[in-house]
């Protein structure tokens, strides 16, 4: 299928390569200069990019805004932390986190997917608030203090072993992981099922007439997004050595949404660029003033009003225009339009 969707995904891949190239350069610089703080900050940005990918899958492709993805991120993080406290095994922690987030996203999906649009959003918000509060009050999970003392682990892949404390090494591991996530999602979106998801955003009412079950499609997308978030969350305790209930908080979820909007919803790679951009902006603003919320809030509003397609959402169409073809009257489907024309 060589339609606009495919072409824009291809452009997206190109930008992913650019992203990786920059990341590798950054890693090289970091390794040489011995400055581990920026590498670890970048690693954290990549982990958050995984969460943003999960938000983008739902928002950019099925058109559903989830304000509670941090719930699954937190589930993955806590499960990973608990496993690592017992056995310092990367693969066991990741599998357990994946399984736990699959299960919880399934249950969450059963609840949230009965409704649509803004009600869906409100339920996802409420779910993460309520479960977050439960975790906050549960002694066995460390309650409000969280869990510290997660050991530094060695990640064994094939014949190599990378220590989680090695800034460059772990950065590369997380980078590879995010690229794999991206690849899996991009592949999915190119399949017929992926097209059903995209159809959901364009015109949900028509989808059943084409013979597809809306509910099944949304459930699968939701569970998938939950697993993506959970696996990303599992990496957090490996990086920082602790987990706390704030990982499930609303600010975590909304940061991911801001990242997706900044980078461009519906472009997959936009989630990656957006996360990095957001981490950079926040650390710069944070050093300037303690009233950074005003700046972030203003940035948020500004980007929705004037910049709704996000960074990638504006750059990618440029690569799709070909002088020999007629100017397409159909808007590029891979971009969510937050301020289209009124009918």
């Amino acid at each position: 299928m060589r339609d606009e969707q495919s072409r824009s995904i291809r452009v997206s891949h190109a930008f992913l390569l650019l992203f990786c190239a920059c990341a590798l350069v950054a890693a090289a610089i970091g390794a040489v200069s011995g400055n581990s703080f920026y590498l670890r900050l970048a690693t954290e940005a990549l982990i958050l990019a995984g969460l943003a990918l999960s938000v983008d899958l739902l928002l950019g492709y099925t058109g559903a805004l989830s304000l509670g993805q941090a719930l699954y991120f937190g589930v993955g993080a806590y499960v990973s932390a608990l496993v690592l406290l017992q056995t310092a095994s990367f693969w066991l922690a990741m599998s357990a986190a994946g399984a736990a987030s699959l299960l919880s996203a399934f249950i969450g999906g059963l609840i949230a997917n009965r409704v649509r649009a803004v009600y869906f959003t409100l339920i996802t918000l409420g779910l993460s608030q309520v479960i977050g509060k439960v975790v906050y009050n549960t002694r066995e999970l460390g309650a409000s203090d969280g869990i510290i003392g997660i050991p530094v682990i060695d990640i064994g892949i094939g014949g190599w072993s990378v220590s989680a404390a090695d800034p460059t090494g772990f950065f590369l591991v997380v980078l590879v992981f995010i690229v794999i996530l991206y690849g899996a999602l991009a592949y999915l979106l190119e399949t017929p099922f992926g097209r059903v998801l995209i159809a959901l955003r364009s015109n949900e009412k028509r989808v059943p007439f084409l013979g597809y079950s809306v509910w099944r499609a949304r459930m699968i997308a939701y569970v998938l997004a939950g697993v993506v978030a959970g696996l990303s969350g599992a990496l957090y305790p490996m990086l920082r050595g602790f987990v706390s209930p704030e990982l499930m908080s609303f600010s975590m979820s909304s940061n991911a949404v801001v990242a997706v909007l900044l980078g461009g919803a519906g472009t997959l790679v936009g989630a990656l660029y957006g996360s990095v951009l957001l981490v950079v902006i926040k650390s710069i603003i944070g050093s300037w003033t303690e009233h950074h919320l005003i700046v972030i809030g203003a940035l948020f509003i500004w980007s929705i009003l004037f910049f709704p397609r996000g960074l990638m959402g504006m750059i990618i169409p440029y690569f799709l225009k070909r002088p020999s073809e007629e100017q397409s009257t159909v808007q590029v489907p891979s971009n969510v339009s937050l301020s289209g024309e009124a009918k």
């Binding site: 649009a117 409100l122 909007l261 009233h291 972030i296 809030g297």
Partner: protein, 296 residues
């Protein structure tokens, strides 16, 4: 504990005090449901307007104004703020395909800004607003502070006034018509743009009014907007978005459920209960108890 003791010392106070809390929540939810019901806009910054009302009372109080004067003045002063917010922010994203999402996000950004501005202007400490009357009265052996009784009275008055205007006046009819069918109403010569802006202003003024009324009870501080927001949204959804009657009934019912449940189980679980009520309604009866105002 003996049954009569239980009823007198535990159950009845619970119900009566729950009533005061219920009226409080209903007032906050009222503005929210009007904005959602009539404008189809999710206002995530509603809690911050509630806080602005309370802080406004603090400032005016420092100027020496009487409580009753403030009660009338603060909402009036907040109306232009509402109009401004609607014109500058909401209107721009109103016509987009994903209106709900866009307005939710835009008002979310606004709430971040407003909260931090409040902290910038007033500092992070807690402020106090004295109640206009003090003391307590006894009702059938139950001690109820006088200000709470006053709150219930004023609250009921406000709710009745809002219902009256909405359902019994021409102005209210215009607003309902604009909510039901915008283009038709516009073609009848009604300035729909201003109706929308005005409605949003009324919604946030109601939030501000609730802020003034509740300030003596719950104290005033920059993050107070988050106090009620989840509960208010639950009330709006259970009651039916846009329905004033629904907001009242749901507001009173949910707070009673919360109050009574906390007698039996650990209070920490009452939030999940209220939330579950919201979820169940969303799952099985998304239009709430009384459906949408313009569309019921």
């Amino acid at each position: 504990m003996e049954l009569s003791d239980y009823i007198q010392f535990v159950l009845m106070p619970q119900v009566i005090n729950g009533l005061a809390l219920g009226i409080a929540v209903t007032l906050v939810a009222l503005g929210l449901t009007i904005i959602f019901g009539l404008l189809d806009v999710i206002n995530m910054s509603h809690g911050e307007f509630y806080a602005i009302g309370a802080f406004g009372a603090i400032s005016l109080g420092a100027l020496g104004l009487n409580f009753w004067v403030m009660l009338a003045l603060v909402p009036l002063l907040m109306a232009p703020m509402g109009v401004l917010a609607e014109r500058v922010l909401i209107k721009r994203v109103f016509n987009s395909k994903d209106r709900h999402v866009a307005t939710l996000l835009v008002t979310l950004g606004l709430s971040l800004i407003l909260e931090d501005v409040l902290r910038l202007v007033y500092g992070p400490n807690t402020h106090r607003l004295d109640a206009p009357i003090s003391g307590a009265s006894e009702f059938f052996g139950v001690l109820v502070p006088n200000y709470r009784l006053l709150l219930i009275l004023v609250g009921v008055g406000v709710i009745c006034a809002v219902s009256f205007v909405t359902y019994r006046t021409r102005l209210g009819a215009m607003v309902r018509a604009a909510a039901y069918d915008r283009s038709m109403t516009s073609s009848l010569g009604i300035p729909v743009d201003w109706v929308y802006a005005g409605t949003f202003a009324v919604g946030v003024s109601l939030a501000g009014l609730a802020g003034v009324l509740l300030a003596p009870l719950y104290s005033v501080f920059p993050t107070m907007g988050r106090d009620f927001i989840l509960l208010a949204f639950s009330v709006v959804i259970v009651g039916g978005m846009g329905s004033i009657v629904g907001a009242v009934i749901a507001g009173l019912a949910l707070t009673q459920v919360q109050a009574l449940a906390s007698l039996v189980i650990s209070p920490v679980w009452t939030d999940p209960i209220v939330f579950s009520a919201m979820v169940i309604f969303l799952m099985f009866r998304p239009q709430g108890l009384f459906g949408r105002l313009g569309h019921a």
